[in-house]
């Protein structure tokens, strides 16, 4: 399997706080890889650094054989890397359709109408609400919108930051079903989750972050079975 994303020894700081320490990991084409860990372990910081919202002080990030460190944030998406940020961050005052159009911002001259149909087929709820202002959607619908919006850019790697956050269990199930469907359709996924059980059960491989460092890694099944992981993250 070809490596699509390679994160090599990155260190990220917020002022004097050392949030991510020498983190290295890899995502191969066609995989679902998950980063799990407690609140404040540096998971979101890692994703935000990959997408260019934050910058690492040392280390390197390579995406499709190209260094990503010096690429400004707004140019990252056209390289094929999309982030569904933590807290969804849909444009609350814009309509569902406008949000999706913003996702296709870099797709100049392509057939956006057809892509919209694809997204609406994937998320029928969004089609029903296409003219509605995103601020009126429920949390689960907003999460679907945020995912649909990211998919509009035809990402080669889709990064999801806490897609299950604040959602009812039935919606969490739905979201993970969608993630698996996207994966089956050929999208490579990097998933950050606090819900370790759910994340590990769909992931090919996982990395465990603790206070900014990777402490363990393995296949999803290995990590699920590991007593230490069970004790720390799976409530038993």
């Amino acid at each position: 399997m070809a490596s699509i994303l390679k994160v090599d020894n990155i260190n990220v700081y917020y002022g004097s706080i050392h949030a991510v320490k020498d983190v290295s990991f890899e995502v191969n084409e066609g995989e679902i890889v998950t980063l799990i860990g407690a609140n404040g372990a540096g998971k979101s910081t890692t994703l935000n650094t990959i997408s260019g919202l934050l910058h690492s002080r040392t280390g390197s990030i390579t995406f499709l054989e190209e260094p990503l460190d010096k690429v400004p944030c707004h140019k990252v998406v056209s390289k094929g890397l999309a982030l569904v940020p933590e807290g969804r961050r849909v444009f609350l005052q814009m309509t569902v359709q406008e949000n999706l159009e913003m996702g296709a911002y870099t797709q100049t001259g392509k057939n956006i109408a057809q892509d919209l149909d694809t997204i609406y087929a994937l998320f029928p709820r969004l089609k029903e609400r296409m003219k509605q202002i995103a601020g009126t959607l429920s949390g689960g619908e907003q999460q679907m919108l945020a995912m649909g919006r990211a998919l509009m850019s035809h990402p080669k790697l889709l990064m999801l930051d806490e897609p299950s956050m604040g959602l009812a269990p039935i919606l969490v199930e739905q979201i993970f079903e969608i993630i698996q469907n996207l994966h089956k359709a050929g999208t490579t996924i990097l998933l950050v989750e606090q819900n370790a059980a759910a994340a590990l059960s769909v992931a090919d491989r996982g990395y465990v972050l603790e206070t900014g460092k990777i402490v363990t890694s393995g296949t999803g099944r290995e990590l699920l079975a590991s007593p230490a992981i069970k004790k720390a993250y799976l409530g038993g």
Binding site: S51, L53, R89, F91, Q93, E98, M102, Y105, R149
Partner: protein, 300 residues
């Protein structure tokens, strides 16, 4: 009939305020800053068009286009040199810088064009070469509306409609709305936030040039401080209507102009500004976000 004529002069004045307020409100909506130098860009637009007509002998419409072009560039330069380096600075630092830019523009104008007021050649003079008034006569001449007033009101409506279509229908306009809501998320979509802010300043400054030409055409004294009072009034209008809202700026500008004109006519010329600002205070007490502004609570 008298009332109608005061009302129309109020709408005409309010149209100028509205055009300026649109610039204020767009910049605030996207860059989240109050550009207090906006009023002085109006003055620069006035001087540029004045020079184009008086020294270069250009026709009025060409002078207007030249003023718009110069102000557009000026807006981009001000943003790039003064505000962009402060993008992540506290908002007070940006505010003080904006006041500094305002004084810089006024004093540069003072150096170039001196303090003595210039008599501005109106885009449409009050009378034509034959000595006939350039005005629309209604009700057997009892109500007279000058062509420049009509042009001012029409420009305001056209600009308002154009901006609404631009932000609602075009890709660039939608990107601006996305930036005004969440710059981080906008960047994740591939929107170049810095370029979007520059474009906003360019549009706002071009509008300021239009406002400058229309304002000086109706009130033909031009001096380095010409832009400050209309600038402050338009800022008031933008807050009045709900800062960040385009229809709000339009409504706020018109209402402010009408209140000012009626207060001058029926209460007192000297008290007109006091009344205008008193109304602002009352509106903000009742509706803190302005007439059309939305109070958006932070979602946690």
């Amino acid at each position: 009939m008298e009332f109608l004529s005061y009302l129309i002069s109020g709408i005409s004045l309010g149209s100028v305020y509205a055009i300026i307020a649109l610039g204020y409100t767009m910049v605030y909506g996207i860059a989240k800053m109050l550009n207090f130098a906006h009023g002085d860009v109006i003055m620069v637009g006035g001087y540029i068009s004045f020079c184009a007509v008086s020294y270069l002998g250009l026709p009025g419409w060409l002078a207007l286009i030249l003023a718009m072009a110069v102000c557009t560039v000026l807006g981009i330069v001000i943003e790039g040199l003064a505000y962009k380096p402060l993008r992540s600075a506290p908002s007070l630092a940006v505010l003080i810088t904006a006041i500094g830019v305002s004084y810089f523009l006024q004093n540069t104008a003072l150096l170039i064009w001196k303090a003595a007021p210039k008599v501005y050649p109106s885009l449409i003079p009050a009378t034509n070469a034959q000595g006939e008034v350039n005005a629309l006569q209604l009700f057997h001449g009892q109500l007279s509306i000058s062509y420049i007033s009509l042009l001012t009101m029409a420009s305001c409506v056209v600009i308002m409609i154009a901006l609404t279509l631009f932000t609602g229908k075009t890709k660039m306009g939608k990107a601006m709305r996305a930036c005004s809501e969440d710059k981080g998320a906008a960047q994740l979509m591939g929107i170049n936030v810095n370029a979007t802010i520059s474009t906003t300043f360019a549009i706002g400054s071009a509008l300021a040039a239009v406002a400058g030409v229309l304002l000086c055409s109706s009130y033909p004294t031009l001096q380095p401080t010409t832009g400050s009072m209309p600038g402050i009034k338009a800022f008031t209008a933008a807050v009045f209507g709900g800062i960040g809202s385009i229809p709000g700026a339009f409504l706020g500008g018109l209402l402010l102009g009408i209140i000012e004109a009626l207060a001058k006519a029926y209460i007192s010329t000297n008290l007109a500004n006091t009344i205008v600002f008193a109304v602002l205070i009352i509106v903000l007490l009742v509706k803190p976000a302005g007439l059309l502004g939305k109070y958006v609570p932070e979602k946690v």
